[in-house]
Assembly symmetry: C2
Homo-oligomer: 242 residues x 2
Amino acid sequence: MASIYQTIFSDIEAKILAGEWQPGSRIPIEQDLVVQYGCSRMTVSKALSALVTRGMVVRRRKTGSFVALPQIDRTVMDIQDISTAAELAGHSHGHRILTRKIERLDAGDAKLLSEPVGAEILRLQCLHIVDGRPNALERRIIMLDLVPLAREEKFATMPPAKWLLEQVPWTKARHVIRAISADQATARLLETERGEACLNLVRQTWQNGRTVTYVEITHPGDRFQFAGCFQPAATWPTAGDR
Amino acid sequence: MASIYQTIFSDIEAKILAGEWQPGSRIPIEQDLVVQYGCSRMTVSKALSALVTRGMVVRRRKTGSFVALPQIDRTVMDIQDISTAAELAGHSHGHRILTRKIERLDAGDAKLLSEPVGAEILRLQCLHIVDGRPNALERRIIMLDLVPLAREEKFATMPPAKWLLEQVPWTKARHVIRAISADQATARLLETERGEACLNLVRQTWQNGRTVTYVEITHPGDRFQFAGCFQPAATWPTAGDR
DNA sequence: TAGTGGTCTAGACCACGGG
DNA sequence: CCGTGGTCTAGACCACTAT
């Protein structure tokens, strides 16, 4: 049995999706919905809030609530940790730490990370192996002041991405995805040809404005892709999600 | 002035981020928070719901609410329409329709789209120009039964992606991002070299289980990247969002 | 000024699930 | 059983904004 606010949510969603209520058109005011559904105004409000979260409705004081105008063509992509993604897809996954050095941030990297020169870091290089073949080369910087435990961690059993998540919650992440040609060193490690198209992901992760880690992951183009399905997230569960 | 539920939200969020409340540990029960903040239980509940949406808290009947365990390393990436993205970044944007044919779906494409062979489609090829240089080659299929207006549309002023959004709301999208080497035809159109690393995005969009459009966009690797910042979305607006 | 959403209250009953 | 969250009510006052 669906709750009242879920019913209201679904009804309005259905009308919008069916085109019955066109973008920009007005939705009945809350008081009318209160009467129509025989519920309190707060229950109506909860349903409308969920529709706002989903980007289907906008609410304006004095003028009422409206079907949202068509969204810009933005959608959303999950980017998962390699080992988790591999596991979910039913592939074997291993990793090998190639480099592990405690250093101080030099001028170039400091600029890249927007962190002070001289800050203590752990620099890692790690090769990910999926189904027996190199699948990703990971170059990572971990800020040691925020993650002091990394100083002693050898990442023998758990890859750095996974380990970090158990240590430090993040509040913000920035991703950049590019296509690059493999240079000689990368090609050798990934067992591919120099010049091969590679998918290159850079991720910087913050906690409250402080950088936790900066990582660049390079995948051979013929062995990796990002894939993701997206449906706008509802505040509360909708019929289709159950 | 922050509302009460925003205050509660921020306070709890801060304690979790500071590590004061560790993952898995119990959060005060709602009644205690009611007393602590001198507000009604519903206000507390609203704050906790927002924390659940943000993935920082889990609530269980009988046992209480807890700090969520660390998330898997998934994060989220906005993928915008090229013209919109270019505008936002302050670049000029133009497009040129190279191909525009009404066809019926052949076996290969039908399998790709999981749509029936013979369905009527509009096949487009469109070159996007940003700051005077080719920036993307778009190959698109539009299902004409769902978007009949496309039959007459010439896409002279508005690129297909933007036009489609004004015609058809979507309920689900799937993305695949790969790195590929430019073949000769693509390289010529994008004014780059054959073999150049290119970023390749495939997007299929549905409305209630029916395909609306399928599009493959190829960007030269040296002229394009996806970039996105992410913070988990809150159910209700938080102080930082205003 | 008046219409509308934004927030809040002080209760209530129900649903779930551990003991 | 009974503690806890899930949902709901019937109001209330305030904030914003179009007119």
